[in-house]
Symmetry: D2
Subunit: 430 residues, 4 copies
């Protein structure tokens, strides 16, 4: 992969990001991304643990099917990923932990996420990946939330940090996390213990409606979320000859979708609900006997999430009853909010204030979103460490997850410099 | 394919049916079925026309995508279908017309349909295809409407008719039709002119809630139908960070599905509506920007179908408006009712009355269904010929299109004998 | 009431009908209609039983509230109804049975219904009641199903039958029934025993999409029906300050209404469903805590009605669950189909064939509706008598129950003549 | 009305509140409340302007029908209201402005609202109005938002302020406003010019989830709101005989209600939507031809309200299209948010800090609600005056608008003292 040849003074961050952008992979299926990342880190001299070493399989929610894993591996191989690393990542366990030590000092961990989204990238000529020729080569998948940029920043940073000239002391741990979308990937890594000895933890996100050149030292308002799959099972029948013999799972699903989106707003809290996917039925002239809904509810406190959880189950159960169907629900992901530590946030603020390209530093910005980095922050805090989550402004074309989302690549440089500054400040040699 | 070796006195009708049952194929994708059928008919000495010779591509509604065709061809090859026949059936044109002539006499055409349904076959041990080991090898596809039996009857019959001992005179034409489900396959064959010189036309169906040993000389009450795909297009957005920027195509589809099923019953007519399939959205945390509905409406007269067509469009347009989406509809199939000719029906009645295994002959039975054989009957009648559609009783386990639909294989023999008797009566040598 | 002065050779049928049309009254509240009818019949010399004598209160479904009864009585008094008859009809028991005897002979009963509908009459100038000045004086109520004509026919007939010149022998019983709409009025009269000794029973209906001058000797296809009220109870809350504390009964009702209308059509049967009325909530800024649905389901057999009953309860229960509400359902009316007796129908056919103004006599017509005269026919048949239900054509402006429904008054004369001929034939003096 | 005899040292605030509680009246129909209030104020020596003098009829949204007004007047008379004041309040113009002057000084206005809600009061024995015998005597109406307390405070205050011993100088104006619920009453009073010369304006609200003894010097977060009535008109038809001839307005309304409640939450703003009332159809066996929805949408900025307004119209129009109905919408009320003036709020804070019974003073509390006092504050500010809106804690039994809402009457005393302190501070004689 020529794109990954680095050695340039920026670690090839743009080229890597564009290469990743062209090969988006869904959560727990990031085989090409993870295998190339691992190979690159190994070449740079980092000590690696991957797959089951850093992810507890029994803590994975929404683990992909064996068929999906096999298909993803094959596609990764076909797209240039090295087999030796793929082989070390069975069952969707695509996480990587890279470590370097330089004498005594604190343990500092940085998190980068790798997964993409089931979004079909726009064909508009004005969309930069089209104009510059690095649009998604995978029909229906897209890096529409900047994780391509995050991973690229992590790799460029890894090169600079591994440089003997880099000024830091202690233990550095880079976490390349799968399946951030859906709140699935952090938990099995946390359960594998990789955060248990961490003193300082940082994670960041590009974009988030901040313009290029702006940094928010802290993102607040992380939401608690429950991700579920709901399957309604009814009975098939010929739609004209004996429709009355059917039990219509498609209508159960449609009724549920409307009812879920109509769950009352909460005056005292921020809440969200989304049925993002619905697949029902087989043939036009058959009463649909199965319907899958993929949904999520969110709240800004455990209490408001509990309200949404309760209402979600009422709606799903009622819709099943209405159409004589049975209902099965499966928990597919969880997010927990977290509060950042002021000590960690102040490091970001002070670094950002002296970083080239950063004109504005906000103390915080409200997110109204989730990132399961919060699951990591919570574990770090439980063990007495400190953590924060910051935002790296990048003027974007549209909202996150939209078909024409794109980042301003100048923000990639800002990201590398910010993380570099954070390390050099937090692990400053005495 | 050992299953297709015939020579037995029944033409191997059971074995062929079971082989077909194990390899169900959707409409316009019956590559294995059609290629094996063609090869078998050729070996028996029938003159064949296939693919574009007997189907006008520009008259195909709901033509499959190139990718689907390629996949179906590959699967057919892998399952033993001969490449030379597959190659003659491009673009889903899987129809076959086989002909034999014996001197002067009328042209008699028989129609057999070949396609299966997107139904997942039951895993119940009591289901005969499970007990006897010929269940569908294709996940999610099933012969749940007896077309496996129809094709097997046609092939067994072809062997007997080709036997020099068979007593008939004139021209025999066997039509193996794709895509009967959805009302798609007959029209392009009709438009290719294959019915234009036909004097007598017969088609039959197994089951239809008649017990084994009963024949209905005529099926009445064929419905008029419109099959459509409706696609709602909205706008994607992050479900928590900016849901207000989305336009929710999934909710448009759900609203439409409920509204369509709530179209008023018609007191003066038989009407039906079904949204058989709905596929919407990509990711759980993304506002769905696309939703496909596969639907059909039916009525027992052109007027009642027009009522349903009008209401369908009102509901679809209204649902799009409600959710700020755009709507595109595509016509995917049409069915036209037809009246049988008494002369043709009386031949069936008299033959059935003397057929071994047939204990009861009903003059007619109301269908409340569609079969696009009616499109063929209409063309025959326009050209001055006669046609009818009859029913061959087969005690069945459940309603048609159900996951545990199955035929009583004794009815296969009845079918072969009935068609044989019809030919020997209608084309009796003077 | 000048309108009711008769003595003309037609018994004033038009004038009576127009007077009744101007004062429509809902079922069990026909105080003006019943009191004037009773007074008129008494003056003509008929022996009367009214109120509790002919209606068992414990068999009344959907009995009106005391407040409604008081209001209806007051309005009847204000509109000229005699208090002495009103006083004999407590609690909505507005039924009347009038009898005359002339020597030995069979007991023949005729049924006329009196109630109107909650329909707002059109204001179109072309609507005859507007043009001729007899439109409904009661806002929101209308005789939109011709019961004004039925009662007028009964009264004009009563005058002719009481004339000594009328040629009949035996016992004549005229039944003026309340609350036909909703299937409520016949049952308490049947339970009071008024049909138990009846040998012959006839009831008729004007209109039913037959043109003036046509009679159908028999109406077939009467439906079985269940009429219910469903009340959802939730919890009120301020819609902006604490919507999450509410449980939304309005949404439960809306979900139920859509789900009920989406109950699958039945391929083997005629079915209907209607939510005719929905009243929910109080204030715009309050989460609605109560919702009333008035609904009915119908089927052409006890089995198809059972299907609808079962699905109705599934939908109602499911909707309650979805929105965290409780559900109470109340049975408000029942209809039972009935088969007519050929002997009775043949009397109608032969009489119609020689009735002035009747040009066409159909042996039967399918109704696709209900009339609880069938409850009376069933009782007559159980006791060994015979009964039928016939239709008197009247070219109408629109469908029954529409805001511009109107009858052709020429049909009133046909009705009187037909009933007269039936009596003179069935009770012909030997 | 013994209840209104005052002279006690608290001005009879409890007795007046209980009397008002027993006779709740809807907005623009507060005839008993307003007439008794006016009579009381006149007796105390205040100069009064009422009805059209203080309300511009052409600025009234949602003016009640003549019939409603007549009914409300009659009920007010029957419940002891003096005719001379009722006669001065035609057409629902039930507003009152009372004034006293004492030499030179600023103009200070206080606002009290008078209207109740269409809520059925609970019958629970534990509910204080039941236990103490002052529950609503008006079926279906209830003071469930404490306006009975507000008016009682205003009247008790009027007595104290009129006392020569009261220490203030300038002009005092007491505004008794109708129709606060729904955002209707303030606008016509503002348009009549009654705020145009006001220097200082204060309004307060009891409850709002603050406990007794707590005051919030400022309520923030007032919402912008649009209140609308939507009427769907379809076509009636007999539900079994010809349902296909109907156009179902009830289903249009049900579809709209679900669609409105499913309008996407807004991640960047506070939004609300409520369909508080739905009335559709007449008879159970008639396709409903009319449906009324009473609804409101809210947002915390003009922009977020515009989002809700746009989505509301899309949903309503789409629902009409889906069911072949026509749609008419009527604007019934508007609310505009407002920002309080710090100068005014600081007066409240300092007074509250020294008021007997007040233990806690919060600088502000977020409301997530509307009060059209904001329309008055905006006008005062436009003319150079200052205004604020504060909250008087009252431990309550349930959320506002609930059937068992009740205030802690101790808060009435707090309210009187707070307003008294505000006047004596703001109009302190030099």
């Amino acid at each position: 992969m020529a794109a990954w040849t680095t050695g340039s003074n920026d670690g090839g961050v743009r080229r890597i990001r564009r290469d990743l952008h062209a090969f988006p992979e869904l959560g727990f299926l990031e085989y090409r991304t993870a295998a190339l990342t691992a190979a690159h880190l190994a070449k740079l001299g980092w000590t690696l643990r991957v797959g089951p070493e850093v992810m507890r399989e029994d803590a994975m929610l929404g683990q992909p099917s064996a068929a999906s894993v096999a298909e993803a591996k094959a596609a990764a191989l076909a797209a240039g990923a090295p087999a030796e690393w793929i082989d070390r990542m069975p069952g969707g366990q695509t996480g990587i932990v890279a470590e370097l030590r330089r004498g005594e000092g604190p343990v500092l961990a940085l998190r980068f996420d790798m997964d993409a989204l089931p979004v079909r990238e726009t064909e508009a000529a004005s969309h930069n990946p089209n104009a510059e020729g690095f649009r998604s080569a995978r029909q229906g998948l897209m890096h529409a939330c900047a994780h391509d940029g995050h991973t690229a920043i992590g790799l460029a940073l890894a090169e600079q940090l591994a440089n003997p000239a880099a000024s830091w002391r202690g233990t550095l741990r880079l976490i390349f996390q799968p399946a951030e979308e859906g709140g699935r990937g952090a938990f099995p890594m946390v359960e594998a213990g990789i955060l248990d000895d961490v003193d300082l933890f940082f994670a960041g996100h590009l974009g988030c409606h901040l313009p290029t050149g702006t940094v928010a030292a802290e993102a607040r308002g992380f939401l608690f979320a429950t991700r579920s799959d709901a399957v309604f099972t009814g009975a098939a029948a010929h739609a004209a000859a004996s429709p009355q013999a059917g039990r219509n799972a498609l209508l159960a699903g449609a009724t549920a979708a409307l009812g879920l989106h109509a769950i009352s707003r909460h005056a005292g809290a921020v809440t969200h609900v989304n049925v993002g996917k619905m697949v029902a039925g087989g043939g036009r002239n058959i009463i649909a006997d199965e319907c899958l809904l993929q949904l999520e509810v969110r709240g800004d406190t455990p209490e408001s999430l509990a309200f949404m959880d309760r209402r979600m189950m009422e709606v799903l159960n009622g819709a099943a009853t209405m159409h004589g169907c049975t209902l099965e629900t499966r928990l597919m992901g969880k997010n927990f909010g977290a509060a950042n530590d002021p000590e960690a946030a102040s490091i970001v603020a002070s670094v950002a204030g002296r970083t080239e390209g950063i004109a504005t530093v906000l103390p915080f910005r409200k997110m109204d979103g989730c990132d399961d980095a919060t699951t990591m922050i919570r574990r770090v805090q439980e063990r007495g460490g400190k953590g924060t989550y910051f935002l790296i402004g990048s003027t974007i074309a549209n909202v996150h997850h939209a078909i024409d989302f794109d980042i301003d690549e100048a923000a990639l440089d800002h990201g590398v410099r910010l993380f570099m500054g954070i390390v050099e400040t937090a692990l400053a040699p005495r």
